[in-house]
């Protein structure tokens, strides 16, 4: 068994309105002048676990991301690996 660390970044798809990001843009305008600020929000999940192989580890993370961390109707995700 080997230790794996996966970082899953989940964010709303570009075509889905990101209301929290709009609120952030408005708040920033009261704080500092920024030209053409465009924000998007999301969540980061850090998964530490053991698996036999990298293939197994990738399958595990993909299942977790597809079934729990992201809803493919409105969200997309990317996975970064730290070994």
């Amino acid at each position: 068994m080997k230790n794996y660390k996966a970082i899953v970044k989940v964010k709303l798809k570009p075509e889905i309105k990101d209301i929290k990001a709009k609120a952030l843009e408005q708040a920033v305008s009261h704080l500092i002048e920024v030209k053409n600020l465009n924000c998007r929000t999301g969540n980061i999940y850090i998964l530490n676990f053991e698996a036999e192989t990298k293939d197994c580890a990738e399958k595990i993370v993909k299942t977790i991301a597809d079934e729990i961390l992201a809803n493919s109707v409105i969200e997309e995700y990317e996975i970064q690996w730290e070994e």
């Binding site: 209301i19 609120a23 961390l69 109707v73």
Partner: protein, 200 residues
Amino acid sequence: MGRIAVKAGIITFLGTNCEFDTKRACEFFGWKTELIKHSEKIEKQYDIIFLPGGFSYGDHISAGRIAKLTPAVQSLPVGKSLIVGICNGFQILTEAKLLSGALTFNDSLKFISKVVPLEFQRQIIHLPVAHHQGNYTGHGNEEVILRYCENVNGSDEMIAGIYDRKNKVIGMMPHPERAVFDELGLVDGRKVFEFFNEIL
């Protein structure tokens, strides 16, 4: 000979808070009603199964995301019993892909709790809504059975409730179970329960 009483089941999750309102509303119509634990597979036969409102699993990750993995939801008799998700129940049904689309945060980013006018079967009715993630998007082919009369939360086409007639699955954000009893001042929810009874 009298009609056999409708048999209703209500799934309770950790964080559900509308199970007793729903049970009392069902009993108002003479339905034989019992609660179903989230942790158990559904093996008994029911005419109608409710996924009631609340905050299952604290809305962690996203509303309804965790509840969809419970044995009760995984064993829902789709196509057999009428399945009705109200508020958090609607969120669970979309997360489980038993209904199309998804429910995101309200346009206002505020939790909304008020009585709103809705279009239901070519008439205007009034029902309470109480949600933070009721902004419906990504509608597929289901019939729209409830539509907001005003833009309450930013939902596409002001959709408040949908019905998959083929699989007998209904989802809605408004709470008809909170509008059944005279003492609460609103009784339009009775029309929605009568509709459920008609399509069993």
